[in-house]
């Protein structure tokens, strides 16, 4: 889960390995807000897998790669 200067840098870093998923920082920031913003709340409760999947789905992070299983 790394940050790169551009998609060209991702390709070079992969060096022929199969790529995972590349997303813009805007999407990552939105994902982080949805995923972590309640982390320090006094009434925090663990989310279910379905709730986590719904966060990914809501940001368009769908398909087999983003399937939490």
């Amino acid at each position: 889960m790394l940050i790169f200067r551009s998609e060209d840098h991702v390709d070079r870093w992969l060096a022929g390995r199969p790529a995972g998923a590349t997303i813009p920082l805007e999407t990552l920031a939105a994902l982080a807000t949805a995923w972590w913003s309640s982390r320090l709340d006094p009434d925090w409760r663990p989310r279910s897998r379905a709730e986590n999947q719904a966060i990914l789905d809501g940001l368009g992070l769908t398909g087999p790669f983003w399937d939490l299983g």
Binding site: F4, S6, W13, A19, A21, T22, L31, T33, L40, P42
Partner: protein, 146 residues
């Protein structure tokens, strides 16, 4: 996760924020008025539930999004510098603290410095990208590698 473990988890996170670093079992035990072994056994259950990540000695390695050890992701937020476990967690620290932040990292390919301002939850640098190598269903198989 039962109520006692939830209280332990919340107290551990609260101490992490207060101290600016991962608390020890003794520090959490003192804060909660319990013995260290109760903290350690509770942490192991939280580790198994993916609510914390412990190292091989039973100390906190990750209280996601916060990292207990130095990493290539340094986040300035709320008057402190924090370590994040990965790029996702780097954005998560400001989100968890509900403050603006600045992320200092490097391009994983070319090692150029990348300084990313996050204001109102949005990055000011829009040309960078984030890559996830491991499919979601396998993230917890080896969370350190993920």
């Amino acid at each position: 996760m039962d109520a006692a473990d939830l209280d332990l988890r919340n107290a551990t996170y609260q101490l992490f924020i207060e101290l600016g670093q991962a608390p020890s079992p003794a520090e959490v035990a003192a804060a909660l008025g319990m013995d260290e072994e109760t903290v350690r056994s509770g942490w192991r259950r939280l580790h198994d539930d993916h609510a914390l990540v412990l190292d091989e000695t039973g100390q906190i390695r990750m209280a996601n999004p916060f990292a207990a050890r130095p990493t290539p992701f340094v986040v300035d937020a709320a008057g402190r510098s924090w370590f994040a476990n990965c790029g996702w967690d780097a954005f998560g620290i400001g989100a968890a603290l509900h403050v603006d932040s600045t992320i200092h990292t490097t391009c994983a390919d070319c090692a150029d410095d990348l300084d990313i301002e996050v204001r109102d939850g949005r990055p000011t640098a829009s040309d960078l990208v984030f890559h996830v190598l491991v499919p979601a269903r396998s993230w917890w198989n080896d969370i350190g590698f993920t």
